[in-house]
Amino acid sequence: MKPVVVENIVQKYRTKKTVVDALNGISFSVDKGEIFGIIGPDGAGKTSLFRILTTLLLAESGKATIDGFDVVKDYKAIRNRIGYMPGRFSLYQDLSVQENLEFFATIFNTTIAKNYDLIKDIYQQIEPFKDRKAGALSGGMKQKLALSCSLIHKPSVLFLDEPTTGVDAVSRKEFWEMLHRLKLQGITILVSTAYMDEASLCDRVALIQKGDLLSVDTPGGVIRGFKKPLWAIRGNNMYQLMNLVKEDASVESCYPFGQYHHVVFKKPGDDKQTLENIAQKGNFHDLEIKPIEPNIEDCFMALMNN
């Protein structure tokens, strides 16, 4: 039995005048012990999906199960066995670190001591501040406390909604290391993010945009799905270079990627020579052109434009 099965879930939000389509009939399933990433920008439908799967929101139509339990009929059973860390900090700000943890342990009929092994790694980092009010913690510490609270009843599936948004590169890296250690304990993890580079840290990913799944695959599989050759170009004036390349009739797309622009041609015959010819129209020096492997963001943009 797969821990998460999603079949044709549709969600709409209605106001007096308008209907917003949040999820347009999406389906996927997650394997036991997998880190499964839901990757897409704000407004793609990530949070709606998480709220439906955690039984906090009723879908318009479609079906979903967690560990075989139906998200509508069996919501009580599901709430007992999942962990959920919402995107917004939702612990009690006026309780201390330890009080929050005790509260969640009690709610789930367990004790901190019973499952301490599972959270030890994470909780130890904030234990020196255990008497501090949760509201007075820094962002990184709040995140660790929220993760500890969502784990205290040893859930079989953990839902993390954008845990790394607004978090700096170092803390993001540490957070993912924590997730990989949890995976080793057999917990299935569904995690959403708007940072495309985090896709490579997942076992499989679902790329989501405007309520549609663009692709469900391993990160490697997504990248292999990018069929056209990809070129990287850089020169002394990157803005001019981008405008020049973009305007050329042979070019399908040209996007800046850090120090390089990534270029895809419409036809397979065009190559380095074509780019050199285009660049000659400007007055560039230090020109560098090379073929490269696409990353997830290249793939996401290509899929978005399809």
């Binding site: 920008p41 948004t165 850090g258 978005m304």
Partner: protein, 248 residues
């Protein structure tokens, strides 16, 4: 102050009680430059930025922004800079045109100028025909692009962007940087913070704050060379890992 410097800061310091949030930072930003201001959460970026925007009085040191002193002329600074962040940008319950008019008015533009600006902005952003659309109804990416354009509606010497592209889809994020490049080509200085390290590579120079100090400041290419790193991500991790302080 030299004419081509839009920011000069010397030993700029802010203490809160016995906590030194910003510890003697010294740097210049040139006219038209895209300057990336990086640092881990809690490194002191926000405090430094608030001082430079005239919103917070420094404890000691010197700094001038757009030719005005951060100690004595903070009101002039506020009039001569633009500011945009992901958290604070536009009024959701006003229309696109009402937002432009509101901010144009705040920055003291004449009615004629506001009219002109409205027409040119709507055209530049391909929003013609949507004058009366509520900002709330715009997709996030459009909001961000509109917010940026409005932040520079008064053609300030410098615009401060605090994590302007968080959560935006990758195509829109790049379109946003297109607007930044354009503004910089027009001579507007860009001061930007970001958590996306590829965006750090779009900057002419970047500074990296660690524990209240600027630990590195150079072009991305030079920084990568100095730290034998393949990307700005590696440079950042190398420096930020040394931090003693944590949190916001």
């Amino acid at each position: 102050m030299q004419k081509d410097k839009v920011i000069t800061a010397k030993d700029l310091t802010k203490r809160f009680g016995d906590f030194t949030a910003v510890d003697k930072i010294t740097f210049d930003v040139e006219k038209g430059e895209i300057f990336g201001f990086l640092g881990a959460n809690g490194a002191g970026k926000t405090t430094a930025m608030r001082m430079l925007c005239g919103l917070l009085l420094p404890t000691s040191g010197q700094a001038s922004v757009a030719g005005f002193d951060v100690f004595k002329q903070n009101e002039q600074i506020k009039k001569n800079i633009g500011y945009m962040s992901q958290k604070f940008s536009l009024y959701e319950d006003l229309t696109i045109v009402e937002n432009i008019r509101f901010y144009g008015g705040i920055y003291g533009l004449s009615d004629d100028r506001i009219k002109q600006k409205t027409t040119s902005l709507m055209k530049q952003l391909h929003l013609e025909g949507q004058e009366k659309t509520l900002v709330r109804a715009l997709p996030l990416g459009w909001k961000q692009k509109l917010a940026f354009s409005i932040a520079i509606v008064h053609e300030p010497a410098i615009v401060f962007l605090d994590e302007p592209t968080g959560g935006v889809d990758p195509v829109t994020r790049r379109e946003f940087w297109g607007l930044i490049y354009e503004a910089s080509a027009r001579g507007i200085t860009i001061f930007v913070t970001t958590h996306y390290m590829d965006e750090a590579e779009y900057c002419n120079r970047v500074s990296i704050m660690v524990d209240g100090r600027i630990d590195a400041l150079d072009s991305p290419a030079n920084l990568m060379k100095d730290y034998s790193a393949a990307s700005m991500d590696e440079v950042f991790l190398h420096l930020a890992r040394k931090a003693v302080r944590t949190g916001d």
